[in-house]
């Protein structure tokens, strides 16, 4: 797996597929990050042009051109530096993120729940981000949105952004699994505790950089265990990033040799993580 392999997968329109087929926003955003980090500015530029051309009127990005709704991939694109994406486009992406919450945080939903008199569920108290508007918030899109907003808040500090980040982090802490770590965002079902996944544990830890809480400590312990067990490229990428965010990636850690890199996001993120300092530039300032 190399930068050349990544370049070889670029579609003629400048974007990337997940593995084959038409261009999608998610793999294109990751590929552009990896290429920028590797100094491949020409190829990255074509990817950036594709992203600029596919931004939607509401400031967000859909998962693929032709899908008429912006979604969580807007947070991924917003991780790109404004000077490469374009300051105006980047600001519109941040505004889209700031205006998006899980449906369970909407006034309409909370009024309905209050009228129905259901029990208050602590895990629904804090606003996170959904994969797609109109649905509930989950760990993955919330982690990505926090990373993007944290970078924005460093560049352009604002109370409203700070508040959304804090609330999003409370959302993540509240969704921590009983044994530690995170899955897609379900603490339990019908009294049964749900188990953590490696990739979402890494994502949540990355977004909780600098947060000191028992849930973070338990999450780190789970991440160390999962790092030694899991053989998924996606999981390894996110666990490394999550542990690195807390300075806990074991010194000299070597990724298992026999991992299969099957998708552009897996390949791109792995390339990006091969240079820790460049990875930091994209995920936190």
């Amino acid at each position: 797996m190399s930068i050349d392999a990544l370049i070889g997968k670029q579609n003629p329109d400048g974007g990337w597929p997940h593995s084959r087929g038409r261009s999608w926003t998610e793999p294109t955003a990751y590929a552009v990050m990896a290429l920028l980090a590797a100094g491949e500015r020409d190829r990255a530029g074509r990817g950036l042009a594709w992203l600029r051309a596919t931004q939607r009127g509401d400031g967000g990005w859909g998962p693929q051109p032709g899908i008429d709704e912006s979604n969580w991939t807007t947070g991924l694109v917003a991780l790109l530096p404004p000077d490469t994406l374009g300051a105006r486009l980047h600001r519109a992406a941040i505004e889209w993120l700031m205006g998006t919450t899980g449906h369970e945080s909407s006034f309409e939903y909370r009024l309905r729940e209050w009228l129905l008199g259901g029990p208050k569920r602590p895990e629904l108290e804090f606003a996170g981000w959904p994969w797609i508007p109109g649905a509930a918030a989950w760990v993955g899109p919330t982690a990505i949105a926090i990373l993007a907003l944290e970078k924005e808040n460093t560049r352009r500090p604002m109370h409203v952004i700070r508040d959304r980040i804090e609330t999003g982090r409370k959302f993540l802490v509240a969704r921590s699994c009983e044994e530690g770590g995170w899955n897609h965002g379900s603490v339990g079902a019908l009294g049964y505790a749900s188990k953590p996944y490696p990739e979402t544990t890494g994502m949540a830890l990355a977004a909780l950089r600098g947060v000191h809480a028992p849930q973070v400590a338990r999450g780190l312990a789970v991440a160390h265990r999962l790092l030694s067990e899991c053989r998924s490229a996606d999981a390894q990428n996110w666990l490394r990033l999550g542990l690195a965010a807390h300075g806990e990636l074991p010194h000299g850690y070597c990724v298992p040799q026999n991992l299969a890199y099957r998708t552009i996001p897996e390949t791109s993120l792995s390339l990006l993580l091969s240079d820790a300092s460049r990875a930091r530039e994209f995920f936190w300032c």
């Binding site: 649905a135 509930a136 993955g140 897609h184 990739e199 490229a233």
Partner: protein, 334 residues
């Protein structure tokens, strides 16, 4: 969580069913119902005999797949070593070989898990790569496949449109291959609920929560109506009971249930599991004429009888009332 109250649409469906029943008892204005054929075949183990068993099932249903594009849709959710969450890879491979040997132009295996993004890693852990040397060549991750916008044909749910993977939209025959399991939100998850896996996570996320907000039962019925050519082979060799579809307990039923009418197949599975199919919301919605192929009298059973193989599955915690009425099976009530 399950909504214990009926939605407006369910009330309408129930009212329609009730009025239909009245009409049927008063004067029979409907054309006679053509019974749907459903096979129940004993299959005690995941072993080499499965290959012949599955081929015999497909042949018994006279499926002409010569020159057709067949897509097998197993149920791949999460992997845990001692669990029975996923459709067994050997069964999927047996179906793959059966359809190939019967002359299909192409046979693909395709799935889009609802919780985890790394589909192929899960398939690998679940043993799918060990069934054949070229598994990756014939597998499509439906979560990341290219998509096309479609509109529900019968519109039970609030979904005005859906983006679905080109691989399943282009199939001449979609074969749903679920695990026979109880489900903590829908009561039972069988060949129709398995269609949730065709909805792409790349568009809707992990989980595909849009479907929950739009009504789980209604979305299942919408998805079922979108695919005109379907077949089902349900893995009931070892199913799951209790708090399914993930945290339940393995339950050995030792059988496969198959047929081209997914409502009839799932209703038959329910009877085997000692669940009243009339209590499963999506089956009521999708059954068309008032409860047509939900009724045992409207199913032409081949292979084993339900009486010979029925085995009560422990019910999910929120569904204590799913058992059929005491008279069920005697007078053909369900």
């Amino acid at each position: 969580m399950m909504n214990p109250t009926l939605t407006r649409r369910e009330w309408l469906a129930a009212a329609t069913a009730a009025s239909g029943t009245v009409a049927l008892t008063g004067c029979t204005t409907h054309a006679p119902i053509t019974p749907s054929q459903v096979s129940i075949v004993r299959a005690p183990l995941y072993d080499q005999t499965l290959y012949a068993t599955v081929r015999e099932i497909v042949e018994a249903h006279r499926l002409d797949v010569r020159g057709k594009r067949v897509v097998l849709k197993p149920n791949l959710v999460e992997f845990e070593p001692e669990s029975s969450i996923n459709t067994h890879p050997m069964l999927v491979h047996a179906a793959y070989q059966a359809f190939q040997s019967l002359g299909a132009a192409s046979v693909h295996i395709a799935e889009g898990p609802g919780h985890r993004r790394n589909t192929l890693d899960m398939a690998d852990a679940a043993g799918y790569f060990q069934t054949g040397a070229r598994f990756e060549d014939v597998f499509t991750d439906l979560n990341l496949d290219d998509v096309t916008r479609v509109h529900p044909k019968r519109q039970f749910s609030r979904l005005g449109k859906l983006y679905l993977p080109d691989t399943v939209l282009g199939a001449d025959l979609l074969v749903s291959m679920p695990k026979m399991k109880t489900h903590h939100w829908t009561g039972a998850t069988l060949s129709m609920k398995n269609l949730f896996g065709v909805v792409p996570g790349g568009v809707y996320g992990w989980p595909k929560n849009v479907l929950h907000w739009a009504g789980i039962h209604e979305c299942i019925a919408d998805l079922h109506a979108l695919f005109p050519r379907q077949f089902a082979i349900v893995d009931g060799i070892v199913g799951m009971e209790g708090n399914g579809p993930i945290q339940g307990t393995p339950k050995r039923a030792g059988l496969l249930v198959a047929g081209a009418d997914l409502v009839a197949v799932d209703a038959t599975c329910c009877r085997v599991m000692q669940i009243d199919p009339l209590q499963i919301g999506y089956l009521r919605l999708a059954s068309g004429r008032p409860d047509a192929h939900l009724m045992e009298r409207n199913v032409r059973q081949i292979g084993e009888s339900i009486a010979a193989v029925k085995t009560p599955f422990e019910l999910p915690p929120d569904f204590p009332n799913l058992r059929p009425p005491a008279s069920a099976g005697k007078g053909g009530v369900i």
